[in-house]
């Protein structure tokens, strides 16, 4: 069961990664939620031992390869929010979906703040306000995304 659940986890992470790097027209790209971050957050909350901080680190490293100016940037941001998610996983899990979405919104903002600061320090400042749009869409899509992930985890099946 253990290996099986881990396999499912990697499968969802891979799908989320593909959704993240799928080429989209610019206007759609702005509102595209950070699927991979949402997936990693889901696993950190619901399977904090299997997923969690290590998963966040490696998923972040993958994101860096695809779209990071510096290796380790997304990794650090993801490690930070997965740490919070793992620490508070029991409290977050017991909340209704709407409140979870709010927490996810806060986590995504924190994630983006970290990216924003690292971007600035490393000399790739992107100050467009559009970079913050995905935090909102990410929070909005959280309830259905969590339901789909829960289904994939075999909870409802």
């Amino acid at each position: 069961m253990n290996v099986d659940s881990r396999g499912r986890m990697f499968l969802t992470v891979l799908v989320a990664l593909i959704l993240t790097v799928l080429p989209l027209p610019p206007w759609l790209d702005v509102v595209r939620p950070a699927f991979l971050v949402l997936t990693v957050l889901y696993w950190s909350v619901n399977a904090p031992r299997t997923g969690g901080i290590a998963l966040g680190f490696f998923a972040g490293l993958m994101l860096d390869v695809f779209q990071g100016p510096v290796l380790g940037e997304h990794a650090l941001a993801l490690v930070l929010i997965t740490y919070i998610a793992v620490r508070e996983h029991q409290r977050i899990r017991s909340k209704p979906a709407i409140q979870q979405a709010l927490i996810v919104f806060a986590a995504l903002i924190l994630y983006e703040v970290v990216l924003f600061m690292i971007d600035g320090w490393t000399g790739h400042p992107v100050t467009s306000p559009l970079r913050w749009v995905h935090t909102l869409t990410g929070a909005l899509i959280w309830p259905p995304a969590a339901a789909i992930l829960a289904y994939s985890a075999g909870r409802l099946a």
């Binding site: 069961m1 253990n2 659940s5 881990r6 891979l14 990664l17 593909i18 790097v21 799928l22 080429p23 027209p25 610019p26 790209d29 702005v30 619901n46 399977a47 904090p48 031992r49 299997t50 969690g52 901080i53 290590a54 966040g56 680190f57 972040g60 490293l61 993958m62 390869v65 695809f66 779209q67 100016p69 510096v70 290796l71 380790g72 940037e73 990794a75 650090l76 490690v79 930070l80 740490y83 793992v86 620490r87 690292i118 490393t122 790739h124 992107v126 467009s128 559009l130 970079r131």
Partner: protein, 419 residues
């Protein structure tokens, strides 16, 4: 749930509390960032990771590629016939122009006082297919299906048939990432073709425009002006078309003019682009390739030794000035060191002991010693990202040493001869 038995599964960072693991991985990512940003130790790692990422990128691109293929295969006979006719006429057109080109090139060579017309600056072309596209307002990159295996290197110019597209930023074994000239992080040194005025065109965050933010309000520029690469900056050769000015806005209270230009290349619709290798010893080549590329990666530690004036001309008359400017970057970045080479040149008997160590350490023949000791040190550091691939194109590797060699070895000879 899945909470049991995982601790034994993975030793690294699994055992400790979340706080411990957080510290571990946060530290790890900070170290990775530091190494990547400041030290550039991670080119190899990036190379491997890029290879691992390539299948995903290919898979992601397959729906658009399939759509393109279907559309192409369903094209009607009429459409194909008309396209064929159009291509044939344009080919005739180009042939006529090429005929003229030969004559013009010869005439140009005569006007420049050179015995024979120079070969074109572009040495080798490689068509590459666009595998993945990222076009957002924050980041505009292409992924090409050519990599180090094809000899692609970091900082290589990418063109299409109309104009400049961008340059490669990360090179994997089979893929290369290209930053577009319209990316907000990218800047191209350009020249206004009509007036010769040089400036910089930076990406303006959408695929259809470039901004020229550094022109004074009274600059002679107007809508319709053609911008070509100026050859400065060490990446793009001189004279390639970049963009056409679309909009010039002069505000009485602003000291700078606000100028927009539209790139000539079909940046958002290209599915095939060209990777170009340039002759390093050509006058129109990007001036000091090695130093500029080095600077791009390392940052400018010391501005003074930038060898902009001595273009590596094959003529031996320009031998002595390049020697003075080539020496400082080669010897050391230490500010005290660069003062020795000029003094070493003037009083030969007194100074050789302190001056000789840098050139003297490899004692082999005098003509060859200039090549290994002096120019390679900037070149070797600049070439590391591609050398890691051990696939530097044979065409591009030899020319750089060949160009400065006559310049630096010839002044070294009299130095040895005088004492």
């Amino acid at each position: 749930m899945a909470a049991f038995g995982t601790a034994a599964g993975r030793p690294l960072g699994r055992g400790g509390s979340p706080g411990f693991r957080f510290t571990l991985y946060a530290l790890l990512s900070v170290i990775v960032m530091y190494l990547d940003q400041r030290q550039h130790y991670l080119e190899q790692v990036r190379f491997v990771l890029q290879a691992a990422a390539y299948p995903v990128q290919l898979a992601v691109n397959s729906p658009p590629a399939a759509w393109r293929w279907i559309r192409e295969s369903l094209q009607t006979r009429d459409a194909l016939r008309s396209e064929n006719a159009r291509l044939r006429s344009s080919e005739r057109d180009l042939e006529l122009r090429a005929m003229r080109y030969e004559a013009l090139a010869r005439e140009n060579g005569e006007l420049r006082g050179l015995r024979e017309a120079l070969p074109p600056v572009a040495d080798r072309w490689l068509p590459a297919e666009v595998v993945n596209i990222q076009l957002s307002s924050l980041r505009q990159r292409l992924l090409l299906n050519r990599g180090a295996a094809n000899g692609v290197f970091k900082g290589q110019a990418v063109l299409d048939d109309k104009g400049l597209i961008g340059q490669t930023t990360h090179v994997g074994p089979w893929s290369a990432e290209v930053i577009l000239i319209t990316d907000p992080e990218h800047a191209v040194p350009v020249r206004i073709e009509r007036t010769g005025l040089r400036t910089i065109a930076v990406g303006a965050a959408d695929t259809t425009s470039l901004a020229l933010p550094y022109l004074p309000a009274n600059a002679d520029i107007k809508s319709g002006d053609l911008l070509v690469t100026s050859g400065l900056g060490g990446v793009f050769p001189e004279g390639y078309p970049v963009a056409r000015v679309t909009e010039v806005h002069r505000d009485a209270v602003q000291p700078l003019a606000q100028v927009r230009a539209a790139p000539l290349a079909h940046i958002d619709s290209d599915s095939e682009v060209m990777l170009v290798w340039f002759r390093a010893d050509h006058p129109a080549a990007p001036a000091p390739v090695a130093d500029a590329a080095h600077e791009l990666r390392v940052g400018n530690a010391a501005l003074q030794p930038q060898p902009a004036p001595p273009k590596p001309r094959p003529v031996s008359a320009a031998a002595s000035p390049p020697a003075a400017t080539h020496a400082p970057p080669a010897n050391a970045a230490v500010p005290s060191r660069p003062s020795t080479p000029p003094s070493q040149a003037t009083p030969p008997p007194g100074t050789p002991p302190p001056g000789t160590p840098p050139p003297g350490t490899p004692p082999p023949g005098a003509p060859s010693q200039g090549a290994p000791s002096q120019p390679p040190s900037p070149q070797a550091t600049a070439a590391t990202p591609t050398e890691g691939a051990s696939a530097l194109p044979p065409e591009s590797a030899p020319p750089p040493p060949a160009a400065p060699a006559p310049a630096s070895s010839s002044p070294a000879e009299p130095d040895r001869g005088q004492p």
